[in-house]
Symmetry: C2
Subunit: 253 residues, 2 copies
Amino acid sequence: MPNGARMSAEHPQPRFVLMRPQMGENIGAAARAMWNFGLDHMRVIAPRDGWPNASASAMASGAGRLLDEAVPCADLDAAVGDCSWVVATTARPRELNKPVLSPEAAMQEAAARIAGGEKVAVLFGPERAGLENEDVARANAIMTVPVNPAFPSLNLAQCVLLAAYEWRRATQAVVARVEAPDESGWASAQEIEHLAGHYEARLDEAGLFYPEDKAAQMKLGLRNLWSRLALTSSDVRLLHGILRQMVRWKERG
Amino acid sequence: MPNGARMSAEHPQPRFVLMRPQMGENIGAAARAMWNFGLDHMRVIAPRDGWPNASASAMASGAGRLLDEAVPCADLDAAVGDCSWVVATTARPRELNKPVLSPEAAMQEAAARIAGGEKVAVLFGPERAGLENEDVARANAIMTVPVNPAFPSLNLAQCVLLAAYEWRRATQAVVARVEAPDESGWASAQEIEHLAGHYEARLDEAGLFYPEDKAAQMKLGLRNLWSRLALTSSDVRLLHGILRQMVRWKERG
């Protein structure tokens, strides 16, 4: 697997290990879900229908490379023996002495360990039965998705999707930012002030601020509006243009 | 929709609105994904194959109630006209003047607004084409999943799953906690201290701490180990029992 080794060095990441997966379609969907969030190291332990699997490849479409490079393994030792941190995904409560982590906490820990040079694996069980207790006993921690207890039935690819999503969240610096909606960027306070002044002056000429004892309050309300709107520079230019056009239209009589 | 109204009052939540969905299977999978995270208010605008949809119901299985109670709507006005905050999910960058939020930020804002008594809707577009610009223009904000730019192809049910997952994260008080792995709870510092003392005394008798000039360092290392292990009270009892058993075994000669 020279390709996998090369990518591993370039983009250190956890290995996603599918234990005894049954349907090829689910293996393919898991590959897609991984690659949706930039993960491409898959291992497959004892797939029911052998390896390679044509229906997995058909389902994977754009993520087929992950299956070509996936390492089929005979058992858990072969798949995670070189890892110093293994987290097992399971929905069912276990009577095993393990910390139980949310996907977010698990992927944050994975990211921290990988940044420190460790090898990390995330284990996913077969579709219906899930991981056996003896498999979970080999893991350092358990990852459980906080599902609705009345309807906890996540499928394999959905579990993989949520883990991969949390990996990307844990490793992307900024995901919750509010981007300026156009290239001009957010308007500066000075731009807003000029805009407010322009409107106030023209609307004063136009007789908007009437009666006189309400004028100050109305002007303040208008100024407040401009600053509340989260305008971009481009919005501000447009609003100046609108007002100028109205003035021209009026002046043409 | 008396049922929906009742649940809405009991569990305030965003409405998930599917615009012009095509495949019934995807509508059913979206219903499952919503109910996995406790959401059950769906609206469907102009589904391609009419309403109700047999293949949607077949796919929804345990979440079929959501489809029975889903409100089919003729257009966006009917679906979100009474909402004061609408967020549109779209993967493609748009030239529209809207804040772009991560799923986490969007669901946090949704939760805050709903807690304040507002009605909120999350819009999802049709499978291939996604939302039209004119639909997105009606929304207050855009939600974009931070996918791998080289492979951004999330399907409808996956988008719904990630939004529903973030809704649950935003509204569940504790999801990242580390639960004690058994009912006995984490061992107290005093329990750890007694355990360390017990082992140190017996192992000293057994002659472990040798040579003498290394003994203090070895004892410190052992004490450090016990406190680092995140033991439960039940683990501590077991470790005491193991040591007592070794001593009995030795004393039997």
